[in-house]
Amino acid sequence: MSTDPYLSVKALTKYIKKKFDADPHLRDVYVKGELSNVKIHTSGHIYFTLKDNVARLPGVMFSASAKSVKFKPESGMTVLIRGDVSVYEASGQYQLYAQSMQSDGIGDYYLAFEQLKEKLAKEGLFNASHKKELPRFPKRIAVVTAQTGAAVRDIIITLYRRYPLADVVLFPTLVQGTGATQSIVKSIQAANKGEFDVLIVGRGGGSIEDLWAFNEEAVARVIFDSRIPVISAIGHETDTTIADFVSDLRAPTPTAAAELAVPSQAELLERVSNYRSRMYRVVSGTVNQQKQALNRYTSSLPLSYPERLYRPFIERVERATESLQRESLQHLKRSQERYRTLDQQLKSRVPLQRIRQSETEVAELSRRLDYQLDQLLKSRSQQLSSAIRTLDALSPLKIMDRGYSIPYVEGAVVKSVSQVKAGDRLTIAMKDGTVQTIVNEINPANGGD
């Protein structure tokens, strides 16, 4: 002990804390009050004030203890708290350290259930529009339940008895106690990775605590997210869980779930034989109908006495044949007579005289033709030599031989003084070459233009 009569704040506070902690009444207190100023820290610690109409007491519940609280503490709730009272030295405040918290009045589980139900309903997880349709004839069925126990046996035996066509795959799952929530979530996710047509999530009856995992948000969400339609069968008929609300179909019991998942083999057999007799009725009816129609037609008059059908045709053919023979005979006779007449006429007029005369005429004409051709050739030959001579006389070269020359200006023959002006360059072509010259002067002739 120091001789200094003054205590430090720390020392005094420590002393007070010791007093609190030493008091057996404060070490384990049961206190009832209304929650206010509830703050849930991200770490999971819950801070609150517990009050009644007279007094207020600050309180804290650390996350390790808070985990066991089934409901979400909210201001205004009346709660029963068990804990201890101690001093928080940093603020000099005494406060209630809660170990457990229960809601007063309605049960905690009920409260938590109602809270989650309300929350998920608001989000629309229970909406009928999200419910998936179940396949009529599932080929593969996933069963998420405990590997042992009545539920799995009920489900598998019922599936087998009703519909042995489907394959059943069991996902052994922890359905109660610590780790159940995670196990259920894992199994449903695993089933969704496989090829399944329907998924049964089930467990047998039990207390609300036993069924609690099916009221957890994580389970509700994984059922909602399931690609495979989910049938829930949890507990007995009277038990309802959040999982039941969110699943696509709720079955009252595991056996009922199996019944809902598959059609009954017996009913199907009956249906198949019913289809058979319906088909038979329809087809034999059609055949009979057609048979009757056929009978009607075959017993009709024309088909019963077919000769009546062709008798008129036979008569017509016979008549036609007769008249054909008659007509052709007459035609032949007429042709023969005509031939005879023509033959006689021909023989009486042989044209020998005319042929001789024509021969003479032909000879005369060909002689004249030869003469005319000869004359024509001679005359044309003379015309040709005369033309050559004329052409030669008219040749410009011949004219230039006599001393004429041709002036050109820019490639054109100069025919008139009007075509040139002083200074133009003229090219003058002569019989033996050209001369370039420049025009000095132009003197048009009198009367020229």
């Binding site: 046996r153 035996i157 059943v168 795959v169 069991l170 052994p172 057999l269 198949v272 329809v282 087809v283």
Partner: protein, 78 residues
């Protein structure tokens, strides 16, 4: 189900469709007979599949693999 290529539900649905078509009544005779024959085949397939359904394949997922389960079924299966 290796011996029959058609799946039960496909067979059942085809059978239903054939019955419906036939019962509509305006199917020509040849087609009705063809449908009937096909329907009878399908009905036999469905019937046989249901009657002679082999033991249901009950398996269990273990480490991501399917293994046969040892669940007893009162002598009704296996």
């Amino acid at each position: 189900m290796a011996e029959k290529k058609i799946m039960f539900n496909d067979a059942m649905e085809q059978l239903e469709e054939i019955v419906r078509q036939l019962e509509q009544g305006d199917v020509p005779l040849e087609q009705a007979l063809t449908l009937y024959q096909k329907g009878m085949e399908l009905s036999k397939i469905c019937h046989d599949k249901l009657q002679n359904a082999e033991s249901q394949l009950v398996t269990m997922m273990k480490d991501g693999k399917e293994v046969p389960t040892d669940i007893e079924m009162d002598g009704n299966a296996k």
